[in-house]
Symmetry: C2
Subunit: 195 residues, 2 copies
Amino acid sequence: MTTLNDRIKRDGIVVNESILKIDSFLNHQIDPLVISQIAEKLYDHYKETGVTKILTIEASGIAPALMTAQQFEVPMLFAKKATPSTLLEEQYKTDIHSYTKNITNSVIVSKEYLSQNDVVLIVDDFLASGQAAMGLIDLVKQAGAKVAGVGICVEKSFQGGREELEKMDVDVYSISRIASLKSNEVTFVEEARHE
Amino acid sequence: MTTLNDRIKRDGIVVNESILKIDSFLNHQIDPLVISQIAEKLYDHYKETGVTKILTIEASGIAPALMTAQQFEVPMLFAKKATPSTLLEEQYKTDIHSYTKNITNSVIVSKEYLSQNDVVLIVDDFLASGQAAMGLIDLVKQAGAKVAGVGICVEKSFQGGREELEKMDVDVYSISRIASLKSNEVTFVEEARHE
């Protein structure tokens, strides 16, 4: 079986020291087999935590979150960018800053779909500085629900997101962990772990 | 087995004569079981057409497109809203007007992922006036690829999209077809077909 690390080595494009482009199988074009393998691993790691819901953010988190939800046999919920027309409804709202794009977006989830009885696994494609994950955690907390953890496809371990989340006592599990993108090359954390 | 029509009857909210809200299982919160049943039906309908790629548009088309791609064992590609930072790359671009939101968005796909050898099944959550599907068809044609058809979860048959697509000789297959949302009620086309 080709691991996610192998696939990143083969098809990932290092744009610069902080940006890895994996548009050919995870972010724009999506290989369902890669995503289903990721979902199985996230399920294995979190299966004993009583997960009742998977939460992600549009758009590129939807694919891994959906297949993870299928494994757990629970619903998947995706946070949407707030628009004027959604402001009338009852919703939880938080602000998420993107350092890559240098913009802050308000995102929302309907209050109907998160309650204090939920145990929520947050799933996303990338973990960098952790802004998106922290925004999603904020939504879960507003609902009075519990965070089971944060499951990530590709972690850029040199951008500090994991540390921020662990400070909040949140379990972080990433299928692929990138230590560096220096010298136009992808170097993984604990390469042996994924063989 | 609960059909999509049954689920719409049970959980759909008729907002007005043209808007049906199915946020609880298809558009915001997503039930993976509903989506996988839809994907199986789209596969059954299009399995002999030589599909090499599934194409959709972010964000709510991603879930059904991904599971359909899994059935066909082909990649899924989603058109993204164009941003200044994407303009530098080689891409196909088209404009899509949303009557619901009264805005026009430019969407793009990378030229790398669509070629003249592709046979493309377009998948989306809703079909209304057909603007999104026609934009996606335009992208496929720019690439010189072939359209296998348009597979839809929920068709609002009273908004003319099917007729527009059929005029272009495109096969349209919808899992659920809504004839009317009048009198605060969902009425389906050919209800017996889905039993």
